[in-house]
Amino acid sequence: MSAMELESFEDALAASREGLRVQLERYKSLVLALAQVIWTQNSKGVMTGEQPSWATYTGQSLAEYVGRGWLDAVHPDDKASSVAVWARAVSGGVPYELEQRLRRCDGEYRYFSVRAVPVLDANGSIREWVGIHTDITERKRNEQTLRDSERRFRELADSMPQIVWGADPDGHFDYYNQRWYEFTGRPEGVTGDSSWTDVVHPDDQKECLERWHSATRSGDAYEIEYRLREKTGVYHWFLRRALPVRDRTGRITRWFGTCTNIDGVKAKEEVLRCANVETAAANRELESFSYSVAHDLRAPLRSIDGFSQATLEDNADQLDAQGKANLARVRKAAQTMARLIDDLLSLSRVSRLELHRENVDLTRLARGIGARLHETDKDRDVEIVVQDGLVAEGDVTLLGAVMENLLGNAWKFTSQTTKGRIEVGLASKDGREAFLVRDNGAGFDPAHAEGKLFGAFQRLHAATDFPGTGIGLATVQRIVRRHGGQVWAEGEVGRGATFYFALSGGA
C-alpha cells in the first residue's frame, strides 16, 4: 500500500469511525429517551455476549456485565429480592416480573419494572431469556406524592378533636379518622353503611338517615344535631356537618363530614331554657301581682275618697271650713295614690309587653295627642308644631306611650308660659338621627337633672307647681331602651326643655 493509499484509507477509516461514533451517540440517546432497556440472558440466567441496550443505559462494559456482573448495576437494597425472584423463575422456567432500582450511566438510580420471559427451542427447553426494563420512576414519584398527601390528610384528620368521616358519591361510608374509633370503641378500619347507624340515638336515627339520604340525592351540604353513643354507653350531642366534594364538572366525587361534640352548647341551651321558663314564671307571678295591686290597692282608696266625699255631703253642717279643707286633702291624696298605682302599673307593663316592630307614623300620633290635649284643656293657648313625615320603627302602643308622656310633659311644663309652644321633629345629634320634643316651658336645671330626670319617682319640680308622679320619663326611658335606643334631654331653667330619643333601627 502506497503512502497515498494509506493516507486515503486512514481518512476513510476516520470518517467511518466518526460515522460510527455518531451512530452510537444516536443509539445511546434513543435508549435513554425510550427509558427501556432490552437484554438477553442464557438459559441459566447469565448475561453473555453483546448487550448494547444494557451497556448503553448502565454504562457497564461487556467485561463488567457478563455472568452475574449485571447485578452490580442493581441498587444494593434491591439485589437480594431481585435475585430471589430471578432464581425462582429461572429454576422453574416461568416468566417473571419485579421492580428494582437500576443505576443509569450517570450514576442515578431509577425505578424500573422488569419483565422477562423464557424463549424455548424446538424441543421445548429454554434457549434463552429475553427481558425488558421499563423506567417507572415518574409513576413511583407520583405514587409517593399521593401516599405523602394521603398520610398528611390522615395526620391532619387524626389530629382534629372532631370526628371526621368520608363517603363515596353514593353515600357509602369508607373512612373515619382515629377519633371515631376511639369514641365508638369499634375496631379500627371498619367502615361501610352499617358502621354508624346503630351508634346514633334511636330517637335521632330516623331524621339522621332521612337527612343523609336526601342530601346524597340532592347533593346539598347540611347540618344536623344528634346524639352518638360513646363506647361507655353514654350518648353525647354532636353537630354533624356533611359537605360534598365536586370535580371540575360539578359531579360529586366524595362526601366529607365532621361530627363536633356540642355537649357544652347543649348544656348551656338547657340552662338558658330553664332560665327562660323561670323568667316566664316570674313574669306570670309579676302579672298576677300587678293584677292584685291594681284591684286590691285601689279599692281602699275608693273608700277613702268616697266616704270623705260622703262625709262632706252628709255632715256639711257639722264641719267647719278647716274640717272641709282637711277632708278635701284626704280625697286629693287618695286620688294621687291612685294615679301613682296606675303609672307604676303602666311602667311595669312596658317591660312585660311583647315588642311588635312596625313602621309607626309619629307625625299622626303626635298630632292626635296634641288634639286631645287641646280638647281636655280648652283654655290653654299652646301652639303644637309637628314636622311632617316622621316615621319610627317600633311598637305602636309603646311609642304611643312615649309621645303621650313627652307631649304631656311639655304641655304641663308650659302651663305657666304665656305663649306656649311645643315642637315635634327630627334632629341630627352627634351623627345620628333622633326625634325631639321641644317646649318653651319651665325647663330644668341640668345640674340637678343628672341621674334624676329619667329615674322613677324623681321629680325636678314641686308637685304644687307641676303635679305628677315622677314616673312618666322613667316609662319613656324604659320603652326607648327596650327598642335598643337612647333618650336624653337638654334644658335650662325658665327656657324650656328638649327631649331626644333615637331608636335602634335608626331614628
Binding site: S290, A299, R302, G306, A310
Partner: protein, 151 residues
C-alpha cells in the same frame, strides 16, 4: 213601669255602699239586689239555694258585675249567664278596678255588654254610675221578656 231590679255583684261592702250612694244621688230608685260572690249571683239568677222558688223569668234590668269575686269569679259568672238560654241576652256591665288588657279582652269575648273601670275619685265614680243608669235603665231597650222554656 215595673220596678226594674239592678243586680249588683260586689264583694266589697264599701264599694257596695258607694255604688248604692251613687245610684241614689242620681235619683236612680230601682231596687238593688246585692250578691256578695259569684255563686250567690248565679243562685239568684237561676233561682237556686236561698233563692229557690224565685221566678227565673223575672230577670234584672242590668247586672253590674265585679271581676274579682270569691267562690266563682266574675268571668265565670258571665260565662254561666251567657251559657244559659234564660239569661243569655241579659245585659251585663263589668264594673271593676282592673284595666288589664286581658280582663277587657276576656270580658268582651265572653259577651259583656259594657266594661267600666271604677274611678277612685268618687265624683267621677258617681258620674259614671249616673251615665250607666241613664243608659241601661232608660235609653237602652231591653231584650223582649222570654217565656219560661217548655219542659
Amino acid at each position: 213601669m215595673p220596678n226594674k231590679i239592678i243586680l249588683l255583684v260586689e264583694d266589697n261592702a264599701d264599694d257596695e255602699a258607694l255604688t248604692i250612694r251613687a245610684l241614689s244621688k242620681n235619683n236612680i230608685r230601682n231596687e238593688v239586689v246585692v250578691a256578695r260572690d259569684g255563686a250567690r249571683a248565679l243562685d239568684y239568677l237561676f233561682a237556686r239555694g236561698v233563692h229557690e222558688g224565685r221566678n227565673t223569668a223575672d230577670l234584672p234590668q242590668i247586672v253590674l258585675l265585679d271581676l274579682k269575686l270569691p267562690k266563682i269569679d266574675g268571668l265565670d259568672v258571665l260565662k254561666a249567664i251567657r251559657a244559659d238560654a234564660r239569661t243569655k241576652r241579659l245585659p251585663v256591665v263589668i264594673l271593676t278596678s282592673s284595666k288589664e288588657e286581658s280582663d277587657l279582652l276576656h270580658s268582651y269575648d265572653l259577651g259583656a255588654n259594657s266594661y267600666v273601670r271604677k274611678p277612685v275619685d268618687f265624683t267621677a265614680f258617681a258620674e259614671a254610675v249616673r251615665q250607666l243608669g241613664l243608659y241601661w235603665l232608660v235609653i237602652n231597650e231591653s231584650p223582649p221578656e222570654q217565656r219560661a222554656p217548655a219542659k
